[in-house]
C-alpha cells in the first residue's frame, strides 16, 4: 500500500463532501468511480494534501504527481517552460532511474522533456504560450508530466476530458506502463469503462461515501 485515506471527512463550507471514506492505493492502477458531485475530485485533492481533513487520516507520500481536472499549466509560459519548471522544482524522485537523465541535469533533462513533448504530439506547439493552445492541447501538455516526472504515486482526475482518440490511447498506454513498472496510479473517472480492464482495484463512491 502506497497511500490511504482512513475515515476521511472533508467539509467545504457547510457541506460534508467526503464522509468517513476509506480508500487504499497500492501498486498498479486503482480506479475511483462515481457520478458527478460524488466527491472523486475531493478525494484526490485530500490525497494530494490540497484540502484539510475535518476527520480521519491521510499520509501524503513524498513523490506524488497530482494532475487535476484542469491542465495546471501557468499562462504566460510555453509548454516546454512549464514542463521544465515542474521537473526542476520536483528534483529527484524515488522512481527515478539511477542514470544521469534522472538527475534532471542539463541536456539530459531537456532530452527527456523533448521526448515527452514529441510523444504527446506537441512538438509544433512546444514553444507557444499555453494560453494560445486549445483545451485538448493543454491537457496533453499536462499529461506529458507523466513522462517527465517519475513518481511513486500518480493521481489523475478525469484524465480523458477534452482528449481525442489518439491521446486517450496514449493515456491508456501510460497507465499500462505504470502498472507494469509497479507504480501506483489512482484514476478518478465517471466514464471510460475500458479503464476497468487494467485496474487492479475499483472503488465506487456516491455522495462522499463508499457505495
Amino acid at each position: 500500500m502506497i497511500t490511504a485515506l482512513r475515515g476521511a471527512t472533508v467539509i467545504l463550507g457547510d457541506r460534508a463532501v467526503l464522509r468517513d471514506l476509506d480508500l487504499e492505493v497500492g501498486p498498479g492502477v486503482t480506479v475511483l468511480r462515481g457520478p458527478n458531485g460524488a466527491g472523486k475530485t475531493t478525494a484526490l485533492r485530500a490525497l494530494a494534501g490540497l484540502v484539510p481533513l475535518a476527520r480521519g487520516t491521510c499520509e501524503v507520500p513524498f513523490d506524488l504527481l497530482y494532475l487535476g481536472h484542469r491542465p495546471q499549466m501557468l499562462h504566460g509560459l510555453t509548454v516546454r517552460e512549464n514542463l521544465r519548471f515542474f521537473t526542476e522544482l520536483r528534483g529527484r524522485t524515488s522512481r527515478a532511474p539511477a542514470y544521469s537523465a534522472a538527475l534532471g541535469v542539463g541536456g539530459a533533462r531537456e532530452a527527456r522533456i523533448g521526448g515527452a513533448i514529441g510523444r504527446w504530439g506537441l512538438s509544433a506547439d512546444a514553444d507557444r504560450p499555453v494560453e494560445r493552445l486549445s483545451a485538448g492541447q493543454r491537457r496533453r501538455a499536462s499529461l506529458a508530466r507523466l513522462d517527465t516526472e517519475w513518481c511513486g504515486l500518480t493521481l489523475l482526475d478525469e484524465p480523458f476530458a477534452e482528449l481525442d482518440d489518439a491521446a486517450v490511447a496514449l493515456v491508456h498506454a501510460s497507465l499500462a506502463s505504470a502498472r507494469d513498472r509497479g507504480d501506483a496510479v489512482l484514476v478518478a473517472s465517471h466514464g471510460h469503462a475500458d479503464l476497468d480492464e487494467i485496474a487492479g482495484r475499483i472503488y465506487r463512491i456516491d455522495d462522499g461515501r463508499a457505495a
Binding site: G68, L77, E88
Partner: protein, 219 residues
Amino acid sequence: MRGAWLVAARELRADARHPDGFATAVTFVAALVLIESIVVGPQVARETTVAPALYWIALLFAAIVVTTRSFDRELADDAIDAVLALPGGRDALYAGKLIALAATIAAVGLVGGVLQIALLDLTLALPGHALVAVALGVIALPAVVIIDVALTLRLRGRAALVPVLAVPALLPQLVAATNALGLALSGDATGSLAWSGLLLAIALVYAVLGLTIAGTAIE
C-alpha cells in the same frame, strides 16, 4: 531556496511575456500623482511630508494590483494546485512570489518615482538614501499582500477584502517608508538611514511571519 528562485524566475518570465500587471500598476501610480497634484495644488503636493506619503500609498495599491494579477494567472488553469502538491511547494510559492513581486514593485516604484519627480518638479537632496528607502520599503509590501490575496483567493469579495486586510498590517511600514523617503528628499541623511533601518526590520519580520503562515493561509 532553490525552489523559491525557480518560482521567482517562472513568475518574472510570465510577467515579461504579459506585462499587463506592471503596466496597470504604473498607470495607477502616475494617475494618482497627477490627480493629487491637481486636487491639492502643486505646492502642497511637492512638500516633503506629502509627496512621499502619496508615493507609498500609490505603491501599496500597485502592490495589490500586481499580486492579484499574479494569483489570477495561477488560478486560470489551476496551476497553483500543481505547485502546492509538490514537496515544499507552499514555501517555494510564497518565497518565490515574494522575490518576484518585490522586484516588480521595485520596478513600478522606480518608474513611478521618476514620474513623480518629473510631474511635481521635485528636488531629490539624497538620491542614494531615497533608493535605499525604496529598496527596503518594497520588500514588506508583497510579504503582507501575498498572504492577504492567498487568504481571499477563492472569495468573491477579494477586491474589497485585500486592501482592508493589508492596510492595517502595513501601517508601520507606510509610516517608516514615508519618513525615510521624506528625510531623503529634505537632505537629512541620518534620519533617513534610521528610518530605513526600521524598514529593514519590518521587512524581515513580515517575510519571516509570511513564510511561517503561508502554508496555512494558502490551505
